[in-house]
Symmetry: C2
Subunit: 182 residues, 2 copies
Amino acid sequence: MKFCSSCGAGVSLRIPAGDNRERFVCTRCQTIHYQNPKIVAGSIPEWNGRILLCRRAIEPRYGLWTLPAGFMENGETTEQAAMRETWEEARARIEITGLYSVFSIPHISQVYMLFRGKLVDGAYEPGQESLECELFDAHQIPWEQLAFPVVKETLQRYFADKDKANGFPLQRGEIIKHPRRD
Amino acid sequence: MKFCSSCGAGVSLRIPAGDNRERFVCTRCQTIHYQNPKIVAGSIPEWNGRILLCRRAIEPRYGLWTLPAGFMENGETTEQAAMRETWEEARARIEITGLYSVFSIPHISQVYMLFRGKLVDGAYEPGQESLECELFDAHQIPWEQLAFPVVKETLQRYFADKDKANGFPLQRGEIIKHPRRD
């Protein structure tokens, strides 16, 4: 950020009065431009015990597999965002059965919220951002070809919970920056 | 938003190629300025069965009672944000015991995430943004003096769950805009 989005003047990094961290503040109109984490909402779409994954047709991680998920938009709920992303990326309609995982990724200021969902009619096909979509059993998941650590972590916990008696308790966690990806 | 924060030129509202909703796009450098919901993270701090509330020393809702909560910052986890806000507003240290409620408030593009927490040592005092802080039993809660609908909804569900056998299952929901507050 270099310019004030309200008046177009330059901004400078400084700690506003009563605050305790640096913000971009307009040098002319004094508007404080806060920056906050973004929510990535998505789903774990299930059909007869198998999970629907999408192979990415976009960067980053082109060609790798992921759960349908994307940035939540203004004016929607987290559930609506998860259903919208599932439709956009996999042309699948889901009924949400619960919030499964909430993972913070502080080094990129994102919070993933992934909901369990059941496909409504079993139909799916790749949306604009997917090369292909496919249903996988636990032993078929392309574990070495998953796009993001948060997806791997969520799927590992999901399939571990699937065989337990107490359902799917909410999973929380933090994804740490991987040194090799510096 | 009137000006591009990257180059200072004017922005216009239009639907970028490959997108399906209007964004602010720079008329010179073509940067797309996405706007997304913010997370409000906070806690339901408990001490011997009572809950810690803060009376707001700031607008909006000056003088009304609320749970300690505030905007999550870049670079932190949701749990860290909840603990930080509890410290800033109530000078209380908590140990988080679970995520209790996730409420979307689409008309103001906020998502509340409130964690259950236990006070570590029972100590608290008003922080800079609070007039006073106090522990309340269910029947002492100032129900008609709560600052926000999401706080009332969360506390009502919390005290209902408190008397049940199955613990505190995650609460999800949506807070609808109140007509009288248009």
